[in-house]
Subunit: 127 residues, 2 copies
DNA sequence: TTCGTTGCAAACATTTTGCAGTTTC
DNA sequence: GAAACTGCAAAATGTTTGCAACGAA
């Protein structure tokens, strides 16, 4: 089994994700970190995002315009996607809702692991 | 403004989608119709899916493994995605649920147009 | 010294598009 | 005949991967 080493760039990617509510793409992360890490490569960003996701440290919360969007906030919540500007906004549950969703009967499913609730519309910025 | 013509292949694509619960990909549609329409091209399938979607006749219900999945059942319902075999199964609401979801407060949203609720897990076939 | 990590570029997979020919109305 | 539709192949897009060099333990 492979052991994971410490990696400065992985750390930077994770901390950037922790510090933002942008739900960024790999590209955005790459461009943002490029200032500090001039030799960063896009492949590294992709590799580390997958790795962090596998470790459960981050989550892929949506695919917007064909781009995977990531979030370091892993507690259960939902998202709103602006169909004009592609902004992704956190949506937090009033606590009854998830139970309602969780109890839904699904014919053909053996086991339900998780669910994803995404709202689409126009955000405040796009009026 | 452009007027839409009748097209035999568009019709076939739509009817195929109406006839199946597979929530197929463009590729699946292409391969399935290839028997009857030997000269069908994948580009035509993609173009018509986009067009049918814009007309509101079909919906893109999920992106599974990077593939868009389509559904001709446009009445509000949800989906279950098997993370092993990528099967997509319809999930119908007990009628109270959508209101609960619909009334969720979304900070930063100007207008909510629709939402998508997708369950992930293992399907019956995958045990 | 071992093996995880990275840059780079090539490869990949899905989807989109330009163009010339075909079909629909 | 005008405009929509199509096949084809090329391009575009986002992501993955092979490899040789680099870095951490």
């Amino acid at each position: 089994m492979r052991t994971q080493n410490y990696s400065k760039k992985r750390q930077a990617i994770y901390e950037l994700l922790l510090s933002t509510k942008e739900h960024p793409t790999a590209e955005w992360i790459y461009n943002t970190l490029k200032d500090e890490y001039a030799d960063l490569s896009l492949g590294t960003v992709y590799r580390n995002l997958k790795l962090l996701e596998k470790n459960g440290m981050i989550k892929s919360v949506a695919v917007v315009n064909g781009c995977e969007r990531y979030d370091a906030l892993t507690s259960p919540h939902s998202h709103f996607v602006c169909t004009k500007c592609s902004r992704v906004i956190d949506v937090f549950y009033r606590d009854e809702v998830p139970d309602f969703i969780r109890n839904m009967h699904i014919d053909g499913a053996d086991r339900v692991d998780y669910f994803s609730l995404i709202y689409y519309g126009t955000c405040n910025n796009c009026e």
